[in-house]
Symmetry: C2
Subunit: 328 residues, 2 copies
């Protein structure tokens, strides 16, 4: 019997999950839940209902796992703990600093209700976290570096849009090639924020706006830009739409360590992703871990989990014997 | 209480494990077992006994996990199933085609005796297998490629040494840069054996040997060399010792897939390692999984496991809360 999946939230991520499920023959989309008026939402899958979230409880016994596709700022901190009362759930909560708090909250409610939750699934946190963990355990004497990009940062793009006189903007985070090479070399140097990444901004200004002031406001914005070398390009709205409508991203986790009697052998492990679509890739990761979520639930493994707790085999449709024969 | 570890076999791998344990404060080397006369073996660790393997049964209650450091050709097919009678064990069995058979054999004896075994731990099989698994589950519509090198292949070096007139030899497996680029590009082309790797041989010939014949025998050797573009260099014994005594290796696992409504977004995931010492790196992986082996045993998870069955968190000395806070 196939795994019955619900999606909550139909933005970029929710749409990505809808498509990802098509690539997984053992999963079946049962319903898409939304806070909006369902009549205004047109989805890509035939014969699947769009349901207002107020009615979600009625779906309690019709869904094996609910994939939460809301944002980390305000949606998930409430939604995950709320819906784990009724469902096994999985989310992509990505505010690193608040993960412990989110985990504890979800864990408590999940255990009370005999459900399984997996939080912070995606590529960072998620696959990159796994790379950091494997890297540190295998090369305990060493150092790791995480780089992001080249890719669009939604948070930084939003920050620029809040500046007076800015009509629209896209910000790219770019890893510095020389810094990547230093990391790979294994000399284990410290790299500063400025050394590791640059930021490139494409900005559509309102007519008559003071471009010099906008540029200065961007470059000096605390936390977002002041610690980086930032380039600002003013472009037309047409150019922005034509050349900067996609959401590519990427990144690198590099662990270097040394082994041998006096550390004479350098060992370098690198994991990297290069993504044409950040939300669609995150959606693919969520789909695979949704399968694992249902398996953990069937094993009576209730409570909150992260990618660290999931045996890799649980992500696969294949059984153990098949995996050992074909992939190991 | 620290994990009490035994090592069976004191070749390159066993020596690597001995050193790896120094980097893991929660593990303690209790004894090294050998088929040789213990008096002839000098180890790097003070106050640790070297014991003939005939006495290993006496150590039954003094060791939490035994790390088997023998070879895959003749040692491990017998040893792993034999010693799992008395110990939790872990090995680096790397003959891919025989893994299912080895697994079944070890699994049966491990279950009978209430012990835990993890087989085929290292980087391939091992970390590369994990990358292939994660890659296929996350991008079900796609293709993966595994490349090896640049590095010394012991099997191929041995094969050359068996040729008449050859005194010594080292063979490097080298991934072809253009093929790597094709794999990364995501066009999902098939790559032939010849396209993916070349082989470079450094050969010390006996005095007066027929070099042309040796070169021809190498290049036409079935399975080992005939499907590859192979280069043969004849060098002096001094040169071989000076320039080719190390055991570097490396490799790449590349998974590319497409997402979106009509596959319009390419997604590329790559894992690669660059190792100054192949056996020392494999030893590091074994040490981390030895920790996981003991944890699985304490969870009453008896029988044979592979890297696919181990929750990543089990490799770490840190608890769940600490991992979520610092690495996730």
């Amino acid at each position: 019997m196939s795994i019955r999946v619900g999606i909550l939230g139909y933005g970029n991520l929710g749409k990505g999950v809808e498509l990802a499920l098509r690539d997984n023959w053992d999963m079946q989309l049962k319903a898409i839940f939304t806070r909006r008026n369902p009549e205004n939402i047109k989805i890509k899958t035939k014969n699947v209902p769009v349901v207002n979230v107020s009615e979600i409880e009625k779906w309690k016994d019709k869904i094996d796992v609910l994939i939460l596709c809301g944002g980390s700022a305000t949606d998930l901190p409430k939604q995950t703990a709320e819906y784990v009362k009724y469902f096994n759930v999985i989310d992509s909560f990505d505010t690193h600093a608040h993960i412990p708090q989110h985990f504890n909250h979800v864990n408590e409610v999940a255990k009370e209700n005999g459900h399984t939750a997996i939080i912070s699934v995606g590529w960072d946190p998620g696959l990159f976290s796994l790379s950091r963990l494997y890297g540190r355990c295998i090369l305990p004497e060493g150092k790791d570096y995480t780089f992001w990009g080249k890719g669009v940062s939604q948070g930084h793009s939003d920050a620029i849009r809040r500046i007076k006189g800015v009509k629209d903007a896209k910000q790219y985070t770019i890893p510095v090639k020389e810094a990547l090479e230093i990391a790979r070399r294994g000399s284990q140097e410290e790299l500063t924020t400025r050394q590791k990444h640059t930021r490139e901004c494409f900005v559509v200004a309102e007519e008559g706006a003071d471009l010099a002031r906008i540029e200065k406001e961007i470059k000096t914005m605390p936390n977002y830009f002041d610690e980086y070398d930032t380039t600002v390009h003013f472009i037309s709205e047409e150019e922005l739409i034509k050349n900067h409508s996609e959401l590519p991203h990427g990144g690198f986790v590099i662990r270097t360590g040394q082994t041998g009697e006096s550390g004479e052998h350098k060992q370098v492990v690198e994991y990297n992703v290069k993504l044409d679509s950040n939300p669609e890739f995150t959606a693919q990761v969520l789909a695979a871990y949704a399968r694992a979520c249902v398996r953990m639930y069937k094993d009576n493994e209730y409570g909150c989990k992260t990618v660290f707790d999931i045996p890799p085999a649980y992500l696969s449709q294949l059984g153990g014997a098949e995996l050992r024969k074909t992939i190991l």
